[in-house]
Symmetry: C2
Subunit: 278 residues, 2 copies
C-alpha cells in the first residue's frame, strides 16, 4: 500500500487518542465525580459520557476506518461490511444505554429532558444514526437491493456516516461544556480548577481523534484496491479480481458482481457506487 | 452541469439557511438580549455571536462553495482563488473583531479569559485558520511555489479548510450552550423559555447549513470541469482549455500551466493536486 508507514502512524495515533479519551472520561467520572452506578443519581448520569465517548466516538471511529486496514484487503467486502455493521451496532447500543442513563437521572432529579441544544442535536444524531444503520443493512448487506439503488444510496450513506460522526463529536463538546458549568461550583468552571483543565483536554483529544479518522478515510490512495481499480476503468478483471480475495475464508463475491453489473450499466463508480467511505 | 437543478436547490437552501442564521442571531441579541454597542459590557459581548455566525460561519461557507458555482466556470482559477482568499480574509477579520469584543467584555467584567473548552477549541481554530490563510496565499496565490509543493500541500489545504469549518460550527454550538446557561436565570435554560427554544433553533440551522455546504463541495460531479478533465487524463488540452476561460476578463493561465506541468511530472492530480475542495 502506498504510504503504508504514514497510514500506520496515523492509525496508531488515532487508536491511542481514542483509547486515551476513554481513559480520560473514566478518570473524570471515577476520580473527579461520583463514580459509576445504576441508581438514578449522579453516578448513573456518569455512564452517559463514558458510554458516549467509548461507543459513539471511539467504536464508531473504528467502524469508519475498518475498510481502510490493509490487512483486511484479502477479505471479501461482505465480511468487511459485516464487521462495519457490527461495530456500528455496538456503538449505537452503547449510545442508547447512555441515553437511558441520562433520562433516568433527569427523571429522578426532576430535571426536564430535552431542553438543551446538546440534547436536541444529540437525539437527532442518534435517530439518524439508527436510520443509517437500518438502511445500510437493508440496502448493502441484504442481497435484495438492485444495483442502481445501491449505487444511488452509497454516496449518501458515506457522507451521512462521516457527517454524523462529526456531529456526534460536536455534541460531546457541548455535553462537556454543560456538565462542567453545572458541576463545578466552588471553584467554578471559570476559575479553571484541575478538573476543568483535565476535561477540556479530553475535549481536545476527541476532536483530534475525529480529525485523524476523517483524514484517513478521505484519502483516495488508502481505499481498498478493488475500488481504486474500478475508478481507473477496471484494469483487473475476472480471475485476477477473484484472486485478490482468495486468501480470505469468506469468498462472497457480491461485491465483485456489483462492480461488473454497475460497469455494464455505465454507472459512475467514483461518484455514486461501491465506495465504502469517502 | 450534471445535476444543475439539484445543485441550485442545495445552494439556495444553504444561502437561505445562512441568511436565516444571521437574522436569528441578530434577533437574539437585539430582541432577547442587550442589543449591540462597543462599551465593554454585555452589548459589546453580543458582537461575538453576531460576527462569528456572520463571518466565521456564513461567509466562510460561501468562501468554500465559491469554486463550485457553475457561473464562474468561465473565469480563471486565479480569479476564483482571489475571491476565495478575499472571502476567507473577511471571515477571519470578522472573527478577530468578534474575539476582541469578548476579551473586552471579560476584562471589564473581571471574568477570566480562556477557561472554557469553547475558548480553547475556538482560539485554536482561529489560529489554524490564520495559518491556513497565510499558507494558502503564499503557496497557491503567489507564483513562487514549485508545482510539487503545491501538489503536496493541496490535499492538506482542502482537508484543513473543511475540518476547520466543521470545528468552527462545533465551537458555535458550544458557545450557544454556554451563553444560554449563563444568561437565562428566571426562567432558566432548563425551563425552556422562548429565548432558549429560539437560540437552540439557531444552532440547528447552523448545523444544517454546514451539512449542505460540505455535501456540495464533496460531490465529485460538481467540481470545476477543468479538474474533472485532468482527473480523466486530460482529454481537453491547449486551445480548448483556453477557450473555457476566454469569456472571463481575467485570463490568467497559471492554473493551466500548473496542470500541464503536473502532468509532465506524473503527479496524481486526483489525490494530491489542483483540487480546490474535496
Amino acid at each position: 500500500m502506498e504510504g503504508y508507514w504514514l497510514f500506520l502512524a496515523l492509525l496508531v495515533s488515532a487508536l491511542l487518542l481514542g483509547f486515551l479519551s476513554v481513559i480520560f472520561v473514566l478518570v473524570w467520572v471515577l476520580h473527579y465525580r461520583e463514580g459509576l452506578a445504576w441508581d438514578g443519581r449522579a453516578a448513573e448520569f456518569n455512564w452517559h459520557p463514558v458510554l458516549m465517548i467509548t461507543g459513539f466516538v471511539f467504536v464508531q471511529g473504528i467502524a469508519i476506518v475498518v475498510y481502510r486496514l490493509p490487512w483486511t484487503r484479502k477479505c471479501s467486502k461482505f465480511l468487511m461490511k459485516l464487521i462495519h455493521a457490527g461495530l456500528n451496532t455496538i456503538a449505537l447500543t452503547l449510545a442508547i444505554i447512555s441515553l437511558v442513563a441520562v433520562f433516568d437521572f433527569h427523571n429522578t432529579a426532576k430535571i426536564p429532558n430535552m431542553y438543551s441544544l446538546h440534547s436536541w442535536i444529540g437525539l437527532i444524531a442518534v435517530i439518524l444514526y439508527s436510520l443509517q444503520l437500518v438502511l445500510g443493512f437493508v440496502v448493502f448487506l441484504l442481497p435484495f437491493a438492485p444495483i442502481y439503488l445501491r449505487a444511488k444510496i452509497m454516496p449518501i450513506h458515506v457522507y451521512s456516516g462521516l457527517f454524523l460522526f462529526g456531529t456526534v463529536i460536536a455534541t460531546v463538546l457541548m455535553g462537556i461544556t454543560e456538565k462542567l458549568i453545572f458541576a463545578l461550583k466552588a471553584p467554578a468552571y471559570k476559575d479553571s480548577p484541575e478538573e476543568a483543565v483535565f476535561v477540556n483536554t479530553l475535549g481536545v483529544l476527541v476532536v483530534v481523534f475525529g480529525g485523524i479518522v476523517l483524514w484517513i478515510v478521505t484519502r483516495p490512495r488508502w481505499k481498498r484496491p478493488l475500488e481504486i481499480q474500478q475508478k481507473s476503468g477496471g484494469k483487473r478483471e475476472g480471475n485476477e479480481e477473484g484472486a485478490t480475495m482468495k486468501d480470505c475464508k469468506d469468498t462472497e463475491k457480491s461485491n465483485l458482481e456489483f462492480s461488473r453489473e454497475a460497469r455494464k450499466q455505465n454507472l459512475n463508480l467514483d461518484d455514486a457506487g461501491q465506495r465504502s467511505t469517502m
